[in-house]
């Protein structure tokens, strides 16, 4: 709809990342629609998490809230931060960071559950 010919003209260049072309970032099919859809999903999930908090789920409440928060952050990471379309090295770094965090968490809880 708007100056597409400009962007299409660029795409053949960034299909094959040469050592030099890779340094310069190119737009990957920028689109408003997908992001707005993701936002609607995020608002929906927020409403669900607030509504679910009103119901007494007991010990499940925390897991449900955390699962919804995880799904929401995965939407933000993959679409808003476009990690989904990013290079493997960024995915790998993020993965390592999450594994480190989970390891710290699990080890702390091993300590806590056997201490009290």
């Amino acid at each position: 709809m708007e100056n597409n010919e400009h962007h299409e003209g660029e795409h053949p260049v960034n299909e094959h990342h040469g050592p030099e072309e890779g340094m310069i970032a190119h737009a990957h099919h920028p689109s408003y629609g997908v992001n707005i859809a993701v936002w609607i999903g995020l608002i929906g999930l927020t409403s669900i998490t607030v509504a679910v908090a009103g119901i007494n789920l007991g010990s499940l409440a925390l897991s449900v809230a955390l699962i919804i928060a995880l799904v929401k952050s995965m939407f933000v990471v993959n679409f808003f931060m476009h990690v989904k379309f990013d290079s493997k090295i960024i995915k790998l770094c993020l993965g390592v960071c999450i594994v480190v965090f989970i390891t710290m968490f699990v080890l702390t809880f091993f300590d806590l559950t056997f201490r009290y």
Binding site: E2, N3, E5, H6, H7, G9, E10, V13, E20, E21, G22, M23, I24, A25, A27, P30, S31, Y32, N35, I36, V38, W39, L42, I43, T46, T49, V50, A53, A61, L62, A65, L66, I68, A69, K72, S73, V76, V77, F79, F80, M81, S87, I89, I90, C93, L94, C97, I98, V100, F101, M104, F105, T108, F109, L112, Y116
Partner: protein, 212 residues
């Protein structure tokens, strides 16, 4: 505005520009990972004390206004969307539209901070602050909860302020045509920072407001 020869010339020119957008993004990502672990430490502390004082945490959390938290969540999610739309608009070479979207983000960020001000103000008014009359009557678990509440939301609020400054600088440089439709990595970096702040709130909201 670009015919084929122009864009071809631009591409040839670009190859010789001394710029490393991927390095720039990678650097910001490494910084964001340290941010995740910084807040991660606080989440770990939260989890540990919540495990120790489940009743205290539930009682203290019921003092918080769920509606206020939910409104702030929606405000922050919307601000994240407008950053992304700002990036898309800039990539489509629509500077004015992009700046408009970024102003929306700044506006949402300020609304978030104003809400936080009223929330903290209400707590202070009720005597919930260090050495405050109400806090001193509370159980150990409740005191721990409010300690973590102030530290986590305070540190998060500080990140909002830094994020707003980051976006402000980028907007100024967009107006000066330093950041353009073919050189947008710094805007993307500001966006990435803003999104990580949003993600932290996505976890803070249920853990602080919705646990009773």
């Amino acid at each position: 505005m670009n015919n084929n020869t122009d864009s071809a010339a631009e591409e040839i020119h670009e190859v010789h520009v001394h710029r490393d957008d991927f390095g720039s993004k990678m650097g910001l990502w490494l910084f964001l990972l340290t941010e995740i672990l910084l807040f991660g430490g606080l989440f770990l502390l939260y989890a540990g004390y919540r495990f120790k004082y489940p009743e205290g945490f539930a009682a203290a959390a019921s003092e918080l206004d769920v509606l206020m938290g939910a409104v702030n969540t929606i405000v922050l999610l919307t601000s994240s969307l407008t950053v992304v739309l700002g990036i898309v608009a800039l990539q489509k070479n629509k500077l004015k539209l992009s700046l408009f979207f970024l102003w929306c983000t700044v506006f949402c960020g300020i609304i978030f901070l104003v809400n936080k001000y009223f929330e903290w103000g209400a707590k202070f008014h009720h005597g919930i602050y260090p050495k405050g009359p109400k806090l001193q009557e509370m159980s150990e678990g409740e005191v721990m909860y409010f300690g973590l509440y102030y530290v986590m939301t305070g540190l998060h609020g500080l990140h909002i302020i830094i994020g707003l400054a980051f976006i402000g600088i980028v907007m100024y440089r967009m107006k000066k045509k330093v950041i353009t439709s073919t050189n947008f990595q710094k805007l993307e970096n500001a966006g990435l920072y803003w999104h990580i702040v949003d993600i932290i709130w996505i976890f803070l909201f249920p853990l602080l407001y919705l646990i009773h």
